[in-house]
Symmetry: D2
């Protein structure tokens, strides 16, 4: 086991002030190289192309969520909910590790580097590997994470519609982006948490704060996470990686760090990622490469590709490096095929590339968000008289159901200099 | 000339709120690839190893300093100081560009990547190159930057003991590190600025704020910039690059991005960096490589070197990647040679390496700071009666001269597991 | 005319930082005793009984709203809207003075001290009186305030569903109460303001911020302004003043400051308040007394009345002084007459007072709020294509109409120690 | 005993967020009328005449200091210092009550209303009275407050050069005044507290924060507490009360609330204040009047006196009511007698008053501050090697002794319209 040399006991967090590490398991998780890797993964992908302050990392978010978990535990204990010391340590571990599986630029390249593989599955695989390093001290953490533990509220604190993950990211992303719309009274919400028959619920007095939380979340989606220019920037990064994968599949040698090369040449899928046989190491080769990969590998390679002879690849990479973003349109209905075709034809002509390749420049897709998910585990309000009512019905002043309606937006990207007549 | 596709008019800054771009020259500078590169250079080197929030970039700092410059111009104009439109644009350009010459991790690798070459000289060279791209629109900016312009206060706003650079970085570094000690009333200080015979001065009412500013600066040095653990982390990064240079000089092939490879193989010096002959490009090859280099190149390479057969290199790189920092001691006097030698002997034994190589593990150096420089251009207080007095004599309550005394600290780093008997 | 001796040029506002006074009309208004009186009137009545930080005054709010008006003017001018210097001064004066008619504890005693007279009418009367002192320099201000000026947007900046008054009070009340739910990105909203055919409109990009603003306003109503305990505290203050009026009408002598005595003995109404004939002064006697009245008069008197022989009056006053608040219930439907009668009967018995007097202890009333008023001047969104759409229809993601539905709540107060069986 | 009807469990503090009440003793103290009175006493006298935001009350400060005490207890316990539950409750009570003896406008009228009687003595008297109401539950609190308890560090947390009182007021006064110079990292300082042989000490790592704290305190004195205009405003209030005492002593009837009348007519002194015999109540008549007195009594009376026939009294009161402050000069040496005499002669002439009365308009006095008191209990730094060193010698970089030098300033006030030739 690695023994860290400079023991950090407190973190100085610009958002919450001092955060203390409360137990050695937490300490050992943070010291683990898998966790230290999160220092090199930006929390919000390329959102900093619009909000330059949004440079914070997954590392900070995980520490912040852990700090909120400490507060939540304290609140529940004050309300008489019994939580044992092993449970406390496990739920702190679970919140620290629930996103350990994120790759470069967090959500941006999810499902791209490894087709159809979501980060939650990688998180679980990494937890199992870390559990070996930590001699089984993550057993209960994994039980909670996978929702197989009796006290469901512990899982719900880690992953639900009102978990410590969401409370932290809204507050933190709001802080760093400078978008005040997302400021949430997370300390007030935490004070309102309660447990009823092993389920996480919210005291009656917290109803306005919950409403505000759901609304803030929706606003942050459209104003930050799915901001038009952020969507444009991230779509270009996706296109660049897709082009590199395409060239690599054709046998072309591309500059990349060894870890990134593994993905370009092997192009693993959800089906085979965890199966990759391995000789000398504990972890499969894929996992091994993945845990060495971070923003630096991708950005360093993208910058080199700016000089690649493939015009499409170098174009896309220059657009990322120098922030030369495409035009993007949003619409509530899908874009007409004819409009897309017309744009692609123009690009084929102006760039002198085959029509088939124009989809790197002209493309459409959709994004979707809903603030509150009626199908998923609902937020329940606990009334003083003992009644338990879903937030959508508990609020007599406001139509929370409106927030449950998913919103889909279609977007269309194309080079700005392509003149288009409506 | 590059034409940016998505015109940003406002920045949402977490520190100051909205920042508006006020003229097209500022817009064009920000859009330039040399300036966009600053998005990929962290403001505070490895300070985030101690203060995880300190992830902000040179880009943000430059935009922030420009915003303070806008306020300073407004204040001076309200006090009847005449500043022409070209002067305004030039001084905004100068503050944006004064640090454009910073390399990866800002100050950390300064004088290391290119021996004895300070970033200010590179800044000036880059300004001249950008001036070509911008058809001479930076002429006046360069005059101001090099202090050859008649109205000295414009230069002093860019570079002096009370410039917009310092005002922004204290506030910003304090904000992101979460160290409240550095919070400075920058808006109050700016309101107190004035001009007397073309020199920047401070109105009498601002005297306490200036004192506070000098004190805050000193505190930030010792608590953030020269924090023990930050010094330890950055010294390891320096050692790693030095080891890579040494191996490369011996002809060893090291993985690196092309831009970083240029430095490893050419090892340019202050003497030859700008001379490098060039064929087809505007910029010399060295400058060309330099402007493509950022934190990503260094960190991506360091991570690969963790697996390098050279034990010393891989050791140092692992220490950076996984935050396994050495022990560091501070002292007001130089460390005794005998103590150092004894530690090196132990390391030679325990690591089984030649004594000559132990200086990668056991080393001493000094750091030095003074909050106020008596030799440099002093801060002058302008009294209502027209008198002009140096801040060190103006404050009747406090001994500012104490702040002018440089403080030197010696540090000694060595592996933590080397047992040492005092 | 009064000449102030210490000229304040800047205010240090905890919410916005430095606020500068930009013209001598603004300076002269602030220096006027009618305006200085606002220093002694709390912005939020008795909200500090729940939120101890909410001690801010009308004075601060007016200065803050003026500061936002300065920003709004600047933004509109940058967008090419022409606003002359006299118009600027007038609209700044109008926002400063629009609430000058508030009495002790702001809204709490409105319509109580003077039956059915709203503060807006008193504001206008005071403006006319100040206009005499200021030699007619408020003529245009009054035109704008009364919406008789051609450029309607100036009036709308002062008084509409998106005026500088609301923007400031939401932000400020949120700041001082510590209720983060009300934090509004007021600088962003102001940047989005525009003018279309002399009407104030909002640029398309501002739509989410407007939604957030409406939602924040609703949340602040229920969480601060109409917080159960605040409603209880303020209702007791109202009851105490009503009891004092009742006793005074019966000829009883009550301790009070002369200004407050005027109201107790004259009990002016909307009908006769402005008519009161006057001999030697400019202002009618009622106005004269009113402008000398503030929180101190009421609170000093209430404290003395704690020792008054009338048990009801002393009871109510003690409840205010020592924060011994009654029980309060909220309901969406009116409380049943029988429940009220039963409570009153119990109180008559336990306090040994006639049934008719129990309405000082047991009473019901209703409060009502809607975040957005469909009947009033609507907020219009200006699309890039020139279309103008009401916010309720402009937002495709959210049902703003829900916010337009007025919410009425009924409340019932009664002494806590009255045992009541449901 | 009074039973509060609406039990508050949490305070929403704009400075620290949620503050919880942790025990019933704290609850009962806060509910006591003596403590509720602090809601009506402004923390910073007339500082709001310069900093309009500084409207916060003693009540808020006491709650804030209690919240810091909770943190300090928690930190010390984590370091292994044993603190029993009764000790915890007692030290929380002591910090809540240590300033309970403050009168109207806090320090402003101290030693004026009751000659030469400091608020600490009144605090102790009130604690003893409250202890009767609370059935002796304040015994240990009083022992700690009077420093007769064995564990001295408990007293030092309440009253020393680094107590929770100072930590809170610097932070809070800085927050509300908007003067960022006073922002202190109070959470960091608290984390650095330790106990060595029953004395409160500071861990080595906290040395910079302590320096900053001392400096911030000095800056807050000169920028807020002893700001020229604040000194001028408060001196006028003192003069007005002195004039009222003088008139009252001559037998003149002045309007005042009964509680204030007691002081005007009895003019108690330190010698007789506590002796005042009493018949039917627990508290002496003086104490009885004192605990009914707050800002409202004084300000309500001052406003009435604006119309008093005594020209001097009405002049002074108008100056307060309408913020018509005198001119004030500061000097490091006493003002020359001849200058003062000359000014008084002019005032006698222009106001047509006897020379003896001019001291109400022209007067000089001195104010004095030192940031660190070498004579008082010193701040000790605890080194890792167990050494204990005074902060003045512990800091090798800075001359803390300079902060220990008391600074005396002389001021001279006179009406602005008195022309004076230097």
């Amino acid at each position: 086991m690695i023994v860290p040399l400079n023991k950090l006991k407190n973190f100085n967090d610009p958002v919450y002030g001092f955060i203390s590490i409360s137990c050695s398991l937490v300490y050992d998780i943070i010291a683990h190289p898998y966790f230290q890797r999160l220092r090199r993964i930006s929390q919000l992908g390329l959102s900093n192309y619009v909000y330059p302050g949004a440079q914070h990392t997954r590392f900070q978010h995980m520490i912040g969520a852990m700090s909120l978990m400490q507060q939540a535990i304290e609140t529940l204990e004050q309300k008489g909910i019994s939580i044992t010391t092993p449970e406390k340590e496990a739920v702190l571990a679970a919140i620290l590790l629930h996103d350990i599986g994120h790759g470069p630029f967090s959500h941006t390249l999810e499902n791209i580097l490894i087709k159809n593989l979501e980060h939650e599955k990688i998180s679980l695989a990494l937890m199992h590997l870390m559990n070996q390093d930590l001699d089984g001290r993550l057993d209960l953490c994994i039980e909670i994470f996978t929702n197989r533990y009796r006290k469901s509220f512990l899982h719900q604190l880690v992953s639900s519609q009102l978990d410590m993950d969401r409370l932290d990211y809204l507050r933190r992303d709001s802080f760093y982006s400078g978008v005040q719309e997302g400021v949430v009274g997370q300390d007030r919400i935490i004070k309102m948490l309660n447990v009823h028959e092993d389920e996480l619920v919210v005291d009656e007095k917290g109803i306005y704060s919950i409403e505000k939380f759901l609304i803030a979340r929706r606003l942050m989606y459209w104003q930050v996470y799915l901001h038009k220019t952020v969507v444009a920037a991230e779509s270009i990064l996706i296109k660049a990686v897709e082009r590199a994968y395409e060239l690599s599949a054709k046998g072309e040698q591309l500059f990349a760090t060894p870890a990134f090369s593994y993905f370009l040449t092997q192009q693993p899928t959800a089906a085979n990622f965890f199966l990759t046989p391995t000789g000398s190491t504990n972890a499969p080769a894929g996992i091994n490469a993945y845990t060495q990969l971070d923003d630096n590998d991708v950005m360093a390679s993208v910058k080199v590709w700016c000089h690649h002879p493939d015009k499409i690849l170098s174009d896309l990479c220059l657009m990322i490096r120098d922030r030369l973003l495409p035009k993007i349109e949003f619409s509530n209905v899908p874009f007409e095929e004819s409009k897309i075709k017309a744009l692609q034809a123009k690009v084929a002509l102006s760039k002198n590339i085959p029509l088939a390749s124009t989809s790197y420049y002209v493309y459409t897709d959709s994004i979707r968000n809903r603030a509150y998910n009626l199908d998923s585990l609902n937020i329940k309000i606990l009334y003083k008289n003992g009644e338990l009512i879903d937030i959508t019905r508990a609020s007599d002043q406001y139509n929370i159901e409106a927030l449950a309606k998913p919103v889909t937006k279609y977007f269309l990207c194309y080079p700005k200099n392509v003149i288009f007549t409506h």
